[in-house]
């Protein structure tokens, strides 16, 4: 019997740009146990937000995540709007949804690049990140910001699309769609990618349910959940969302699901722009929020994002609880790593699309 060795990975490590710590126990080349430690970028946001007003908190929650910043404010705003009984004008909802979908495209392409880098497939990394620039450019054109857009306000959005922007954005969307389709074609037929991802990090539908996993990781194991279709928040009630599903349950399936989702998101973006209703983009919101509580959910690029908000009638929230989707996938890492080769650890960790800033808050 070979000796067991425990290898610490992290908090600082070359695999991800964000810190987290794994203690991986190996027997020869095979992983037999792992332990996880979080909190290296814990900023105490849930406590901090109790000292800030609802409007100031918009800017705080936008900074929970550096990738899906807009969906955080979307969930927060829709919760506060529900407490206030505010109805957001349709144009505001459409524009809010447009940024959500662009963010999904950018997040999925970013992820594909990281996967490429971690499996030593630099070409995919370069192509995916080059194409992701288009999504960032569109968001910059819409809001002035590439990553933190400050697009949402309580009561609607502060961005708008004019005639000149409309045609520029549509042509960029068409260009991006062609590029993502090309990428999908490449990764579907590329043997290197298959060899590194197929059969790695398998999760059965039962495991997904037991661990309450959400988002593309759940959909790649055949669990058909997508809050855009099931919850119909923002403008999704007026759109038809085709949910991308796969049944293999491995990193390969997660790659396919995310690539197909990016294409579907681009389709939705065009649909949103073409159907953009006339009218105001937001309504004025009062500073104080009546007492009450609300649970607000949305489908972030990584899955279900939940905010619980309790108001005590003042201009500051009494409690905000944030549950980000990556936390649900991290619980499965122990099971996914068991029995894989040491060299595949990075593939397993890439597969779940980690966002540590989100997890730590």
């Amino acid at each position: 019997m070979s000796t067991r060795i425990t290898i610490p990975i992290g908090p600082q490590h070359p695999l991800l740009k964000e810190p987290l710590s794994f203690m991986i126990t190996v027997e020869g080349e095979r992983v037999v146990d792992s332990a996880l430690r979080l909190g290296y970028v814990h900023r105490g946001i849930e406590r901090l937000c109790q000292t800030k007003t609802y409007v100031q908190n918009l800017h705080l929650f936008e900074r929970v995540c550096g990738i899906c910043s807009h969906v955080h404010t979307t969930v927060y705003c829709q919760g506060v709007e529900a407490l206030l009984g505010l109805e957001v004008p349709p144009r505001g909802l459409y524009l809010r949804t447009l940024l959500c979908e662009l963010e999904r495209v950018h997040s999925h392409l970013l992820w594909l690049g990281i996967l490429g880098e971690n499996i030593g497939f630099q070409t995919i990394f370069m192509y995916a990140w080059r194409d992701r620039e288009i999504a960032l450019d569109i968001m910059e054109e819409l809001s002035g910001g590439r990553v933190t857009h400050a697009g949402n306000v309580i009561g609607g959005v502060r961005i708008d699309v004019g005639d000149a922007q409309f045609s520029s954005i549509v042509s960029q969307l068409n260009d991006l769609e062609q590029r993502v389709e090309k990428l999908l074609d490449v990764i579907q037929h590329e043997r290197t990618l298959r060899a590194r991802t197929q059969g790695i990090g398998y999760l059965s539908p039962e495991e997904i349910r037991r661990y309450c996993v959400v988002g593309p990781v759940a959909r790649a194991s055949g669990v058909d959940v997508d809050l855009r279709r099931d919850c119909k928040y923002a403008a999704y009630g007026r759109l038809h969302v085709n949910v991308a599903l796969a049944h293999e349950g491995d990193v390969w399936a997660r790659t396919m699901v995310r690539a197909r989702e990016a294409i579907e998101s681009l389709r939705l973006c065009r649909q949103l722009l073409v159907g953009l209703p006339e009218g105001p983009t937001h309504v004025r919101a009062p500073r104080r929020v009546p007492p009450g509580e609300v649970v607000s959910r949305a489908e972030a690029p990584r899955g279900e994002l939940l905010y619980y908000i309790r108001s005590d009638g003042s201009d500051k929230p009494a409690r905000v609880k944030i549950r980000t989707p990556t936390l649900t996938s991290l619980i499965t890492v122990h099971d996914q790593l068991e029995g894989v080769e040491m060299a595949d650890v990075s593939v397993v960790l890439s597969g779940i699309d980690l966002c540590i800033a989100c997890v730590d808050r």
Binding site: G39, R47, L48, A82, R210, C212, V294, Y308, R323, I331
Partner: protein, 151 residues
Amino acid sequence: MNLPRILELLQEVLPAARLEVQTVPIDEHFISLPPDNLHAAVRALLERSDIYHLSTITGQDVDGQIELLYHFWEGGGLTLRTSLPRDRARIETITDLIPGASFYEREIAEMLGVTFLGHPNPQPLFLPEDWKGDPPLRREFSLPEERQEGE
């Protein structure tokens, strides 16, 4: 989400418990129940209804009690609410029923000082191992700058 059916089910499993129902915006129902009944209620939901997805557990220090909210989702939101005394904040773990609750319980344990009886790995998840002082989401905890102002 078939609320009458779920209420009927919970009342059947917990005949002595008084269940209070409250509906809040965005299609979410809150059911309050005593902490001793929570494990049985979760078991009933998992075994005898379509609900399997626990979105998260929220903990908060409110009205002199530690309140726990178990947020479920099945085509609509269902939250089980229970309150624990601040000086004896203990409750049975639900990780034996839903392994996915493990991280949520660990977070509440360190942030609010709640003991989850029977949790398989009750280690801190976010706070440093050498953390000293009150759990950071309890009311008595003060932020460093607040301390300076007060001192």
